[in-house]
Symmetry: C2
Subunit: 359 residues, 2 copies
């Protein structure tokens, strides 16, 4: 799912999304609640109508944003008190309130308020978040009334298999039409992400969609599809695009760098995106160097198309029984870059957790 | 002509330009010469091919940029020595060099190197620029060889009718296929712009296109078409769009401001642009407030469509003999905003001229 945090997939318009093959977009309740406000979106016909998108939508509850260091003020059993990043005003998200906000925003799939901590928090902390997440999930289930929206459940539990089991038992007992795996890609190693995604996916009913939140890179998509995940969201493809980093079969190219100055072919030969079909690498390079706004759109189109095509190809491969061959070929070609992004994220979360403990 | 200074109409792609009704775009030799370099553009098939635009193009010679304070180092009869705004390196533009660069860039219409000064420079200075501009025009004419490109002439002369006559006599004697009026919209009053455009237009052959450089606002377009001008270029529509200022029949609206927060209709009722046909004012407002990149594109699409539709309507009105009625109706509806932009430009030029004189 391309990420439209504030009701816009950064640099793209709805026609771009259609052309890229997007079938659903994700937006964020925390951001839309604060700006422009739920009523504005509701009065304009809901999220999809507001953003001119005629396909399905999903809203995250905003829990992840609320629990990040900058915003969180106080967590109680009732809910989370947080500070607006826009004007510093105080707000409370209870499980019931996030459902009401999401009903107002009107996405097709909505998410319960869960408790987010770094995956390297201690066992006692994770145990506590699992229990609270379950109680909040039950309150969200109770509060949710809309027949035209589906509410997913979210399984927490950090990297502890038994806590993942405890969480998935509690959440699946509430019988949601789809299940998300939360609390991953927050600083742990890739192997830890993959192992936990795999064991958690196995706990979830096979006939319901399994959504791994906040993941991921192309290699993560392949490895987590291999482990039974159906849905993903991640800002990585759009964020790195705006820095000039474009996905290609062999990994990433930093198209703003000198080697691409005179490239007369497309960024990726054979790519079916608008950017590659219509512009040379040299032109995309020039747009980045000249800081032209069009650079961000052309790069974003390419990266989002890259990951959506990857998903399309994996679906075909699964259907034709050739997924393992596809996976091998992907890895034979694709070299992931250094994990700076993950490390930055890890440092931020470690610091956040430390400060929360110190409070 | 929408302005693609660096080979991109800021925030738009070639499909946007087509949809908006653009029939030609303008780019700048100074900018493209410095980055990405003439050879890069040439090797990729020339300006239009480089930017993925399959319509006509025009390049300005870069004289205006070279003569602005920040860049100019020395003017001699030979040419202008200037400093790159990118890396501080020194370069020389002679009349012959600007033609060679523009032949490399490959636009359909190219412009000679002229001498630009503020329209309130003293008579002796303007007289000197008129004479040098004529000599440089002859050198450009001589240097220009391409049968597939047309070279326009540029008439200078400030606000002095007799110097405009002197310049147009010299330039038209060189028999160019089209003529530009330079040295206006550089700090003088609107009445002075209009009066000088009118008297200069009358000096130019009626069967050749007359191009008023660097103009203008919607009211300028109407008033200067009334005075015999056929072609314009101006960054105003795209620049103010990125600040949230959108043209409407009644003038301008600052769509990022509070009154537009909940607007459920289009920015301009009846507008046929992509933005107005697909998005509410509230959404455009939200994109500006949230600093979403899409804001700049949607606003630019609207403003460029506004001025191109204005030109289309004026062409129809002229053809049907109803131009004066159209002009009256336009002014009855349209209130221009304060002239901050012009005043800023004026101050900058006055300062530039003072420093040049002091050197």
């Amino acid at each position: 799912m391309p990420v439209a945090t504030q009701g816009s997939v950064k640099a793209l318009d709805p026609n771009d999304l259609k052309a890229i093959g997007a079938t659903i977009v994700l937006a964020n309740t925390y951001h839309l609640y604060l700006r422009p406000g739920v009523d504005i979106v509701k009065n304009l016909g809901g999220l999809a109508s507001f953003m001119g998108w005629d396909g399905p939508t999903l809203t995250d509850s905003g829990g992840f944003q609320v629990f990040s260091l900058e915003h969180l003020r106080k967590i109680t059993e009732q809910g989370a008190l947080f500070k607006s990043h826009i004007d510093g005003s105080l707000h409370e998200f209870t499980p019931e309130a996030t459902i009401a906000h999401q009903e107002g925003l009107g996405a097709d799939i909505i998410m319960p308020l869960d408790v987010c901590v770094s995956s390297d928090a201690d066992r006692a902390t994770i145990e506590e978040t699992v229990e609270r997440t379950s109680r909040w999930a039950a309150r969200c289930r109770q509060a949710h009334s809309g027949a035209d929206q589906v509410l997913f459940g979210i399984v927490q539990g950090g990297l502890f298999p038994d806590l993942r089991t405890q969480s998935s038992d509690a959440i699946t007992a509430l019988d949601f039409p789809g299940y998300a795996i939360g609390g991953l890609s927050l600083g742990e190693s890739k192997d830890e992400t993959y192992d936990t995604a795999e064991l958690t996916a196995k706990m979830l009913p096979v006939e319901r969609p399994r959504y791994l939140m906040g993941v991921g890179s192309p290699e993560d998509l392949v490895e987590c599809v291999a482990r039974g995940i159906d849905m993903f969201d991640c800002v990585l493809p759009t964020r790195i695009a705006r820095n000039g980093a474009l996905f290609v079969k062999s990994g990433r190219v930093n198209v703003d760098k000198a080697p691409y100055r005179a490239g007369d072919g497309p960024v990726e030969a054979g790519c079916d995106c608008y950017t590659c079909l219509n512009f040379s690498t040299a032109y995309v390079h020039h747009l980045f160097r000249a800081k032209e706004i069009l650079a961000y759109r052309l790069a974003t189109i390419h990266n989002v198309r890259f990951v959506l095509r990857l998903m399309e190809e994996m679906r075909s491969a699964i259907a034709s029984g050739s997924f393992e061959a596809y996976r091998r070929e992907f890895h034979a070609n694709f070299t992931p870059p250094d994990q700076e992004t993950r490390h930055t994220q890890r440092r931020k979360w470690l610091e956040a957790q430390r400060r929360l403990r110190d409070r």
